[in-house]
């Protein structure tokens, strides 16, 4: 106990540091989005939502990958902590992906003139969202903890392998893909790039922060549950 209090890198300190760093980066990212990044010539101010859109979709992708890797570890090692990690990551991923879809729609309405279109990337995002939803549903309806963990891990692995195939097959019908920063989007302003990088880093830290907090809560739940036995 004493060590934990004096150690500068104790869990408590790390938690605080992570919290403030995330907070600072998110504020900085927001400020850069609105005041630092130049206004896009064609799309105008609405393009600014794209930084957050990219941030959430990036973090959701990281979350999905974490679910996949943790699921493989769970199947091999069968230790509860990997399942906890996968589950918590999936929950946060679902939240981030929902934000992605909402921000994307807000962006698409003035630019494309529609809230939604079945473009390959949108189709894949939508299916990823459904896969997250089914993953969480499977967990609530599987039964005991061991079965829940194993089944959802298996589903996550199959889903992760499936997603690239979904994307490739959705591309058979070519759509209007939003190439804003990629090749073909023309030269990108360095200020835009800097803003994007800060926002991406901010969202990555936000994801880690949320993940750690969620795992903490989950472990507390577990402790409470097992103490009753």
């Amino acid at each position: 106990m004493k060590i934990a209090e004096t150690d500068p890198f104790s869990f408590k300190e790390m938690r605080k540091a992570l919290f403030f760093l995330t907070f600072a980066l998110m504020v900085l990212g927001t400020w850069m989005t609105f005041f630092y990044a130049p206004t896009e010539v064609v799309m105008g101010h609405v393009q600014r939502i794209f930084y957050f859109h990219m941030g959430t979709v990036w973090a959701a992708t990281v979350a999905f990958t974490v679910v996949f890797v943790a699921s493989i570890y769970y199947l091999v090692k069968e230790t509860a902590k990997w399942d906890t990690l996968a589950y918590c990551s999936a929950e946060i991923g679902m939240l981030l992906l929902t934000l992605t879809i909402i921000t994307g729609s807000i962006w698409a309405k003035p630019v494309w003139g529609t809230w939604w279109t079945w473009d390959p990337q949108l189709t894949t995002t939508f299916i990823l969202w459904v896969l997250y939803a089914v993953y969480l549903l499977l967990r609530s309806g599987a039964g005991g903890r061991g079965k829940k963990a194993r089944y959802s891990a298996i589903f996550a692995i199959v889903a992760f392998v499936d997603l690239p195939v979904v994307y490739i097959s959705a591309r058979i019908k070519r759509g209007i893909s939003p190439v804003v920063f990629g090749p073909g989007g023309g030269g990108i302003d360095p200020a835009m790039m800097q803003t994007l990088l800060v926002v991406l880093l901010g969202f990555t830290l936000l994801f880690i922060l949320l993940l750690r907090e969620r795992i903490r809560i989950m472990n507390m739940e577990t402790a409470l549950y097992t103490r009753g036995r």
């Binding site: 499977l138 039964g143 199959v158 058979i172």
Partner: protein, 230 residues
């Protein structure tokens, strides 16, 4: 190999005796056919893409109905537990069940397909055996392998969850999106009489899907059925 065939033979024998799954699948498909016709107001000017879509929706819905049942049958008397005691790799059990499910679903599709084309195209005169019917059947087999591989796999999971049969479509539908996109696309291209080059890419994706998921599922099956204890 011998073990796969033994399980395959046993499943077909059980189905032959009980006659539960196959007739249900067939009649369910016929009802869907009726519903689609009614919903389309018996029109005769439906385009090829819509026909293909309708055909595949029917295949997948009736197929999943059958797959949901195939593991419920094993759960009766816990017969599946005994199968797990046999000294045979779990992958073989999966492949055996996959094979028997495939045969059942494909046979029912072969029964249904002519009726579908007849009801929607009204006359099958324009269709030639070599250019349309056989390629169509080939794609049907490939697409069926795709959704039955995942369907067989997840039906053994779904019967052990609280939601049971309701869980199966939830698990399988989002995963088989590529099968639906490619199969429907290829089938409508075939009906339109397009050359192979036009839909070769879709076909490649479909074949890749089949290979990936048959392998992945037979690999993961061991983990899936490990214990039904809790």
């Amino acid at each position: 190999m011998k073990e796969i065939l033994l399980i395959f033979r046993k499943d077909l024998l059980v189905e032959w005796r009980s006659k539960q799954i196959f007739p249900t699948m067939l009649i369910f498909s016929l009802l869907l056919l009726l519903i689609f016709n009614v919903a389309f107001e018996f029109r005769s000017d439906i385009d090829f893409h819509t026909i293909s879509a309708v055909v595949w929706i029917t295949f997948i819905f009736s197929g999943l109905l059958a797959l949901g049942r195939s593991f419920s049958l094993e759960k009766e008397n816990n017969a599946f537990s005994f199968l797990l005691l046999i000294p045979v790799s779990r992958s073989y059990i999966y492949l055996g069940k996959l094979l028997s499910n495939l045969v059942m679903v494909i046979v029912s599709e072969i029964f249904i397909l002519p009726l579908f084309l007849l009801f929607f195209l009204f006359d099958a005169k324009g269709l030639s055996l070599m250019d349309t019917i056989l390629p169509f059947l080939g794609v049907t087999v490939l697409g069926t392998i795709g959704f039955v591989s995942l369907g067989t796999f997840f039906s053994s999971m779904a019967v052990n969850t609280k939601l049971r049969d309701m869980m199966l479509p939830l698990l399988v539908f989002p995963l088989i999106i590529p099968v639906i996109i490619t199969s429907v696309g290829v089938c409508s291209s075939i009906l339109e009489g397009r050359p192979l080059g036009y839909y070769a890419f879709s076909l490649q994706i479909l074949v890749c899907f089949d290979i990936i998921f048959v392998l992945l599922c037979s690999l993961l099956f061991e983990y899936l059925i490990e214990d039904s204890g809790d």
